[in-house]
């Protein structure tokens, strides 16, 4: 089930809210049980088989954390606990997400005629395994205590708002809220506002940009000229940003409704003035996860320059691979790795001397190219797209049509990339009429989102090849 569906909006969400808030606040465990039951149902709705895997991961995480804690000073037992957890999570990821990819790659490198396994990847596996690992790793490092109540661990991993697309929440962030939280009207109100904004981002912007970007990326190289190719890159970048940040907004908003405070995942990445800053603003919970659980344990920048560079390559190769089992994601990660290394060791000081607008242009240019890599699962098509970016011929072509079709979305999409519109929205006097105005704006976004959602369900019977 996705948040931007009528099943979620008019059936699931009202049902979970009703069941949850009908239980008096003092019965926390009962409220938690309701949340857990609905979270499992939410997952079963999208992936009935995968729920067993998720429950297995939860069980192993619960047991491993307890084993580590009870092992005390016995290092071998502690390592056994951690090993079990890593084996379960990385094994599940390796099998369900990467087995087909690795076998296909092996088969291409060495023509062994290997049977390619057809494995269906459970929804959200990258998120719930990463959350589980962070919990057990934190217990191992002594940063947090093992949770005695298995239902609390299950709720932490399976909590439906962040279950399938993040943000990747650390256990310590919501540990206290799992056992004791207060659902206040102000939180519910803020949560609903945030949810509606996220829904609008997803339905009114990301889906529109995605539709156009898909057409442009699917074009034959001869048809796509440079303006169209650049527009495609811009639209895809906006699509992925609004899709992902919209989903994060919805998750954060839903969490807030039930009294949880999830971390922010995006902070206007397209206003960054360097790659380093971009990654401080883009998918924050993932980059901090990799920093804390991969880069720093590998030695980070503490073991000399060659080792640091190696660590960066490992970090970014894995970051790329996390995004999908395809070489273009690895290439995308390594592209950022090289870019970040260049910035760190060569460009950093020079960039500081440049005017701010030039830094923005520089960062956007390389970001757009990175998005082309991200969206090209076939490497041959990547080559033709990159060459189209610099192949100036003819007029504006299809780009003109896309601009004509989507003026409001493109203007709004570019504007909301910057903090200014939200600042304007939240500024204004602390008066009832201003709050009322904000509510009306949000209701308009909700109404437009509902219309767009209905519009997306239009499926004319195709009986004729035009």
């Amino acid at each position: 089930m996705v948040f931007s569906s009528f099943s979620f909006l008019i059936v699931f969400l009202p049902a979970v809210c009703l069941c949850y808030f009908l239980i008096p606040q003092r019965f926390h465990n009962a409220r938690n049980l309701v949340l857990l039951a609905f979270s499992l149902f939410f997952y079963v709705w999208g992936e009935a088989k995968g729920v067993l895997l998720m429950l297995a991961v939860i069980t192993v995480s619960y047991g491993s954390a307890l084993l580590i804690e009870r092992a005390g000073e016995r290092r071998s037992l502690r390592r056994l606990g951690l090993g079990l957890e890593l084996l379960a999570c990385l094994g599940a990821l390796g099998y369900f997400k990467y087995a087909g990819f690795f076998v296909r790659t092996l088969d291409r490198l060495f023509p062994l005629a290997l049977p390619i396994p057809e494995i269906v990847m459970p929804i959200g596996i990258s998120f719930f395994t990463f959350q589980s690992m962070s919990y057990v790793l934190d217990v191992y490092r002594g940063k947090t205590q093992a949770q005695r109540d298995p239902l609390h661990v299950a709720l932490y991993v399976a909590l439906f708002p962040q279950l399938v697309a993040g943000p990747i929440v650390r256990y310590e962030t919501i540990q206290a809220e799992i056992t004791e939280r207060k659902e206040r009207l102000a939180d519910i109100y803020d949560g609903l506002q945030r949810f509606i904004m996220g829904l609008g981002k997803k339905v009114l912007l990301a889906d529109v940009f995605g539709h156009e970007a898909e057409i442009i990326f699917a074009m034959d190289s001869g048809v796509r000229n440079a303006p169209t190719a650049w527009l495609g890159a811009v639209l895809f970048s906006l699509q992925i940003y609004y899709d992902f940040s919209g989903y994060s907004d919805m998750a954060i908003g839903l969490g807030r409704i039930f009294g949880f405070h999830f971390p922010e995942n995006f902070n206007y990445p397209f206003v960054a003035k360097s790659a380093t800053e971009f990654w401080r603003r883009w998918h924050i919970t993932l980059s901090s996860w990799f920093r804390d659980y991969v880069y720093i344990p590998l030695g980070g920048n503490r073991r000399g320059l060659p080792r640091q560079i190696l660590n960066l390559f490992v970090l970014w190769g894995l970051t790329g691979l996390w995004h999908g089992a395809s070489w273009n994601y690895v290439l995308w990660g390594l592209y950022f790795c090289v870019w970040l290394i260049l910035e760190k060791f060569f460009l950093g000081r020079r960039l500081e001397k440049l005017p701010a607008w030039l830094c923005h242009v520089y960062t956007l240019f390389f970001c757009l190219v990175s998005m082309v890599i991200f969206n090209s699962t076939e490497l041959s098509r990547l080559g033709s797209y990159l060459s189209d970016l610099f192949h100036f011929r003819g007029d504006f072509g299809y780009a003109r049509f896309v601009l004509q079709q989507n003026v409001p979305e493109i203007v709004l999409g570019l504007a909301i990339c910057t903090p200014l519109p939200l600042r304007l929205f939240r500024s204004g006097p602390d008066k009832p009429w201003a709050e009322l105005l904000r509510c009306c704006c949000l209701l308009a976004v909700l109404a437009l989102s509902a219309l767009a959602l209905t519009g997306s369900s239009f499926h004319a019977f195709i009986y004729f090849r035009f």
């Binding site: 089930m1 569906s5 009528f6 099943s7 909006l9 008019i10 059936v11 969400l13 009202p14 809210c17 079963v44 709705w45 999208g46 992936e47 009935a48 088989k49 009207l185 109100y189 609903l192 057409i215 442009i216 699917a218 074009m219 034959d220 001869g222 048809v223 007029d395 504006f396 072509g397 299809y398 003109r400 049509f401 004509q404 079709q405 989507n406 003026v407 409001p408 602390d430 009832p432 709050e435 009322l436 509510c439 949000l442 209701l443 909700l446 437009l448 509902a450 219309l451 767009a452 209905t454 519009g455 369900s457 239009f458 499926h459 004319a460 019977f461 009986y463 004729f464 090849r465 035009f466």
Partner: protein, 392 residues
């Protein structure tokens, strides 16, 4: 401030409840007349459907298709797109000044070896010709330019019309037909014989010709039959009293705009009572279905009014043994021509191989050697195999 927050939360709760209630209690439509499709049915539970995910996917589709106020919301969304955003392309329909047109996509179509495409398509027809010639019948190929070809000048210049592909395919196919010695007639020649524009004979909100175009085609086919020595009557245009329908016409394109099409036109209908009486069988079942099916009062009319829409097989007998028989092969373009042929032939059969799969055409001809076999196809489909493009 607290009250506003409470009111906002309460309002959203009430809205959700209202939607849920109306969705649950509201009248269930089974068919969407605008999308021309069956709406999703209630999913059936089974262990398999639960495990393979189809059960809940079915619920997603069901809820999406039966959400409260769906048609109204769809229409409102289209209104915004048409009148506020002023989009040229809505629900895959291009809105030009003269007509509605299909969006053809930006991706190039298949092969560009047009000569081979044309040759292959004609080779697929060759067994039919041999079969017809073997029993001494006549075979005629009647080609019609697609509506989007005739109104091509309505496309914005920056959209891909695939003109090269369609023109080259059509030219190659016609050349291959001529080289192989097939008897052919082309609607373009028929429609422009008086020097006028072929646009007169096409619907502006649908992908077919209009009834005048169908009549002109029927007349040309009958005249060709007479040239071959078949003595057949031709129903005169005046007798048919061709006139616009009162019911609003939902063409294949205009219905996608939910009644908000800036271009409207009526469906041309005719007086079917001037045609002789007949007996009719659809897909083997005898039926009293009329040649022209008018809708109930207040309901819209579709192109499917002609003959009741597409059938795998239709058999019509007029009990006039002195007249020849005709077998018409093709898709929905054949429907109004089939109705008109009732005035000129003794037995009329039509096959649509998108729906008919009991025999191949050559097998069918063995059991039913029609005096005239008419293959009637539009230019967009000349070289496309499958369905009516793969006759054996």
């Amino acid at each position: 401030m607290q009250r506003i927050k409470q009111g906002f939360v309460l309002l959203l709760g009430l809205l959700a409840a209202l939607f849920l209630l109306v969705t649950y209690l509201g009248r269930r439509e089974e068919i969407s007349k605008f999308e021309y499709r069956t709406l999703a049915a209630h999913p059936e539970f089974s262990k398999e459907s639960l495990l393979d995910g189809s059960y809940f996917r079915g619920w997603d589709e069901y809820i999406s298709d039966h959400t409260a106020f769906r048609d109204g919301m769809m229409r409102s969304y289209l209104w915004l797109r048409l009148h506020v955003k002023k989009q040229l392309l809505v629900n895959d329909i291009i809105i030009s000044e003269e007509s509605l047109l299909p969006y053809l996509g930006e991706k190039s179509f298949g092969s560009d070896d047009y000569a081979a495409l044309g040759r292959d398509a004609v080779e697929r027809l060759e067994p039919i010709r041999q079969a017809v010639e073997a029993y001494g019948g006549h075979l005629l190929y009647y080609g019609i330019e697609g509506q989007s070809v005739v109104f091509r000048d309505g496309y914005p210049p920056y959209l891909h019309t695939h003109v090269d592909y369609y023109e080259n395919c059509a030219a190659a196919f016609r050349a291959a037909l001529a080289e192989a010695g097939f008897s052919t007639l082309y609607a373009h020649d028929v429609f422009t014989a008086d020097g006028g524009s072929p646009k007169r004979y096409y619907a502006r909100v649908d992908h077919h010709y209009n009834f005048l175009g169908a009549y002109k085609s029927y007349e040309a086919i009958c005249l060709w039959c007479r040239e071959q020595g078949m003595e057949i009557p031709i129903v005169e245009q005046e007798r048919l009293q061709i006139h616009p329908s009162e019911a609003p016409f939902y063409g294949a394109y205009s219905r996608k705009l939910y009644g908000l099409s800036p271009i409207e036109e009526p469906l041309l209908i005719f007086d079917a009572s001037v045609l002789p009486s007949y007996q009719r069988w659809d897909n083997g079942e005898q039926t009293d279905a009329p040649l022209l099916q008018l809708p109930e009062e207040g309901a819209p009319i579709y192109y499917a009014a002609y003959m009741g829409g597409d059938m795998g097989e239709t058999v019509i007998q007029t009990d006039r043994p002195e007249l020849p028989s005709i077998l018409i092969v093709g898709d929905s373009y054949t429907n109004p021509v089939e109705a008109l042929c009732v005035g000129s032939f003794n037995e009329i059969r039509s096959l649509d191989f998108r729906h008919y799969d009991q025999m191949t055409l050559t097998e069918y001809l063995e059991s039913y050697p029609a005096d005239l076999v008419l293959i009637l196809r539009d230019s967009l489909n000349y070289v496309i195999p499958g369905g009516n493009g793969d006759l054996k």
